[in-house]
């Protein structure tokens, strides 16, 4: 499933077995996205949350 990076416009290839919540990165600019929705072979991405001070184990 292909879509475009909203940051740099490069083509973003999302694996066909991706699931909602999975993270994908733009190979060109490294912008990180989260898979928001998958329907009928098309994928909707949203920017992933940035690392927070309280993130961890």
């Amino acid at each position: 499933m292909n879509t475009s990076c909203t940051e740099c416009g490069a083509t973003l290839a999302v694996p066909n077995d991706a699931i909602v919540g999975e993270l994908v990165s733009c190979k060109d600019c490294s912008q990180e996205y989260e898979v928001a929705e998958i329907s009928n072979g098309s994928v909707l991405l949203k920017p992933a949350e940035q690392v927070g001070e309280d993130w961890g184990e």
Binding site: G52, E53, G56
Partner: protein, 283 residues
């Protein structure tokens, strides 16, 4: 039996847990916590018999677990355990009270008191944030002038807990590695060394440490299980060090990451964790 695995960032671990559940015939659903809405106290989405809490954000995890337990759901780990593990002072208190060997630790509530505590502890010592992970902002303080500089930096932080209060811990001379044990209930699922990368004293996998399997001796096994019990039990990552004087437990992690450990051991860690989740769900 139905299990929900709540997350806010879908990592390898959560996918592996989901796959392990499927392989074990356990109905498990990955649930993005960022989309959940509750009406206090009891109206909530159908999350099944037990929730495996895997949020990466401590505060989101804590609030969500509080809500889930308030709604009557069983959560691994409980809110009490999560709070005890996510605050290093609370962990230290629990370990010390349970007589688990742990490094000498001081709390200071002002910068002046921090300097006094440092004198009592002696240099070098380790300054750690109360909340945080992956070795972030964990610093070896080698002399008073370094501490004074760190105090100036800390006073610029926005978080009042980290801005004005100080958690100081004895610097332990050890090999360039520590021990990570993954515990589920009273079972040590896996035990690995975490070997610090060149030029780094911290042994977090997030800092580039490499995992290597090893078999803990009887003494270490007892200490690991006692540490897990001291914080309240559940699925935990117990971190220990091995100075010449004997084992010391320095941290217990509530939402244990195990990708690094899995790369080093044959045991199927997610399968073992799901087995524990199933046992808890049946209780």
């Amino acid at each position: 039996m139905k299990v929900s695995i709540t997350f806010d960032r879908l990592r390898w671990e959560e996918k592996a847990l989901s796959e392990a559940a499927e392989a074990a015939g356990v109905e498990a659903t990955l649930v993005d916590s960022k989309g959940l809405i509750f009406e206090v106290p009891k109206k909530h989405p159908d999350l099944g018999d037990v929730v495996l809490q895997r949020c990466i954000s401590h505060y989101r995890s804590s609030i969500l677990t509080l809500m889930l337990e308030g709604a009557g759901l069983k959560v691994i780990n409980s809110h009490d355990v999560a709070e005890r593990c996510s605050n290093k002072l609370a962990t230290s208190i629990a370990l010390a009270n349970a007589k688990v060997p742990t490094p000498r630790t001081f709390l200071a509530l002002t910068s002046e008191a921090a300097e006094e505590a440092a004198d009592k502890l002696g240099y070098p010592f380790v300054l750690k944030p109360f909340t945080g992970s992956w070795g972030r902002m964990v610093t070896v303080v080698r002399d008073r002038s370094t501490l004074q500089s760190l105090i100036e930096y800390k006073e610029e932080l926005a978080n009042p807990q980290e801005q004005h209060m100080y958690y100081l811990q004895e610097f332990i001379r050890r090999p360039p590695r520590d021990i990570r044990a993954i515990v589920a209930g009273d079972n040590i699922v896996a035990c690995v060394y975490r070997i610090a990368p060149p030029g780094e004293w911290r042994t977090n996998v997030a800092r580039g440490a490499v995992s290597k399997a090893f078999k803990p001796d009887t003494e270490l096994k007892e200490i690991i299980l006692k540490a897990a019990e001291a914080v309240g039990g559940g699925i935990l990552g117990v971190d220990a060090m091995e100075p010449e004087s004997g084992y010391l437990v320095h941290e217990v992690n509530n939402t244990v990451e195990f990708k690094g450990a899995q790369s080093a051991v044959d045991t199927d860690i997610p399968a073992q964790l799901i087995k524990y989740v199933s046992q808890v769900a049946r209780r």
